[in-house]
Amino acid sequence: MPRSNATAGIGGADTRPPLAIGIALSRLLPKTSEAGLKTAHFSKPGLAAALLAPQLLILLFFFFIPSYKALSLAFVQVDPFGAREIFVGFANFAQLLGSPDYRQSVFFTLWFTVIQAVVTIALALLFAFATDFVIRGRGLYKSVILMPYAIAPVISGVLWAFLFNPAVGPLAQFIQSLGIPWDPNRRPFDAQLLVIVASVWKHICYDYIFLVAALLAVPQSLLEAAKLDGARPVRRFFTISLPLVTPTIFFLMVMNVVYGLFETFGIIDAVTRGGPAGATNTLVYKVYQDGFVQLNLGSSAAQSVILMIIAILFTVLQFRALERRVNYQV
């Protein structure tokens, strides 16, 4: 069914989603060497190589070699200026795993990622359903809800930090006027909440546009059949539309997880800088802080390795748990 494939594909276009996509797509892949090959194809190895060369060369120079260098630092301690380097085996890993702060970061990252992913998709579904249902103003709603997509994470982070600043932020003042205590500088939970809200806000438009597109592609005749079968709109949505867009939802779940793991970097940097007391220090932010800002390259490389493993595990787990329930056929 073309739609699911297409929607499953496009997210890849975004920034990091690749991981997700890649794996999402791997479903369609290999087993036999013919996988993903058109029935009508050419056999011109020379030309194929030439077509692949630009991508592979760019990847070699700007991905493989740098990644190899980055990961290989995981087993050394190194002077950032490059003068000295000591091989330490797994010491960097041992130190990380023994550190309560690191474990806290792992723990926060996991639940942050999950909650962010679920809330984003749930809200996006609600909006998409409503958009699908209303007739008047549909285009306008769509344009407006898509707007955050245009905003650089740097800016949206700053906006959120400002709006919810307990001293001056209008929204913080609104919350406080309701008698609810609010201080993301001192209350870890508030900070975590803020980071989640900001990341959801930034990412919801992405899920939304995919879902709107997917819902549009649900065959009209099925909805009509359901109508004659006595299903009212809400029930129709849950029993027909929703199951039919599961490939998109699944794809988005994977994407959201990847977003949570990697992409929220900019927001955290602007909103909480990982604080207070490391409460919002996600793994990728820590890699960045320790490696790039603090220049603790060895530890940071070890964290990258662990992060990569977690990313892969997370995705695989999702596939195990969710993918078999997905309908790829319409």
Partner: protein, 343 residues
């Protein structure tokens, strides 16, 4: 089971009329077939009855109740779609159950009805399969099953067989007819397959350009088409329509030449003359032997084409110049300008 009544039913899309005023009474248990060329408004009409399309003006009554603004779910109508519209994520059983569950039928009742429908349609072995695991014919049956399981007031069919191959089409056609007779459910059936229209209908409704051209039993419509349009549309190969004024080398016998159009069914064209018969002379352009009979394509001298359907192999060859004869009784006469039957 219920009667359906349409009174001056109209539908515009924007300012473009799709259905231009239809009056039709379908009696309880009757099987009506709608035929007509593509775009004549058959589907639109059907969808208005189902409630999937709003009515622009006119009245629509089911079992005596005006349902113009009743939701589809509440019209107690089942529809079989051209592409079946089976829910791909549900098993066959779930597909059948869905409409019952939505209407809050008790569990046992649901199970019994599904079992019954499955038995009638012989789809028990596939109940646990997903639609994509079924062949076209099997899917068609499931779509039928979904319609009958609810025991609705009426069935609506929108070209339900057009996605099947010829062989299967014949078979399913017969089954649908038997089933409809057995259940006695009021049905409206849209098709543009001649054979389906002729064999299924209690009454045939021929539509054209958003209006009804003729209503009648298939035989009536076949034997006495009321308009030129119906004459040309019903029957395969289609009726030969000859412009009297344009056809020189025809020996009309006693018939006074008049400005009109004369229709002749291909199987009324004979090689042997009978008394008082009309004679056409023309060249054989093409002979299509199709087993039991052959279609002979003739070209009359003034460029009018004529098709004759003759039993067995025609004893003639392409290129021959031959005479053909038609009984005067087999002629259909139409007024050229109004298109209406004159005899």
């Amino acid at each position: 089971m219920a009667a359906i009544e349409l009174v001056d039913l109209k539908k515009n899309y924007g300012t473009v009329p799709a259905v231009k005023g239809i009056d039709l009474s379908v009696s309880d248990g009757e099987m009506i077939v709608l035929v007509g060329p593509s775009g004549c408004g058959k589907s639109t009409l059907l969808r208005m009855i189902a409630g999937l399309e709003s009515v622009t003006s006119g009245h629509l009554r089911i079992a005596g109740k005006d349902v113009g603004s009743v939701e589809p779910a509440d019209r107690d109508i089942a529809m079989v779609f051209q592409n079946y519209a089976l829910y791909p994520h549900m098993s066959v059983r779930q597909n059948l159950e869905y409409g019952l569950k939505n209407r809050g039928f008790p569990r046992q009742d649901i199970a019994r009805r599904v079992a019954e429908a499955a038995a009638i349609l012989e789809i028990e072995p596939y109940l646990e399969r997903r639609p994509r695991q079924l062949s076209g014919g099997q899917r068609q049956r499931v779509a039928m099953g979904r319609a009958i399981v609810r025991n609705p007031a009426a069935f609506l069919f929108d070209e339900p067989l057009s996605n099947l191959d010829a062989k299967l089409r014949v078979q399913m056609r017969v089954e649908i007819r038997k089933l409809q007779k057995r259940l006695g459910t009021t049905s409206i059936y849209v098709t543009h397959d001649q054979l389906e229209a002729m064999t299924l209908a209690d009454r045939l409704v021929v539509m054209n350009g958003g209006r009804i051209e003729q209503i009648g039993t298939p035989i009536e419509v076949y034997e006495r088409p009321q308009t030129l349009f119906v004459a040309g549309f019903i029957g395969s190969p289609p009726m030969n329509l000859i412009d009297v004024g344009q056809a020189d080398n025809v020996d009309w016998g006693e018939l006074p030449p008049q400005t009109g159009v004369v229709g002749v069914r291909p199987n009324a064209v004979r090689t042997t003359p009978t008394k008082g018969a009309i004679r056409f002379t023309g060249v054989v352009e093409l002979i299509e032997p199709i087993g039991g009979e052959s279609h002979v394509h003739l070209m009359l001298d003034r460029g009018q084409a004529l098709i004759a359907s003759v039993p067995g192999k025609a004893g003639i060859a392409e290129g021959d110049r031959v005479n053909w004869h038609v009984d005067r009784a087999d002629l259909h006469c139409f007024d050229k300008s109004t298109g209406r039957r004159t005899d």
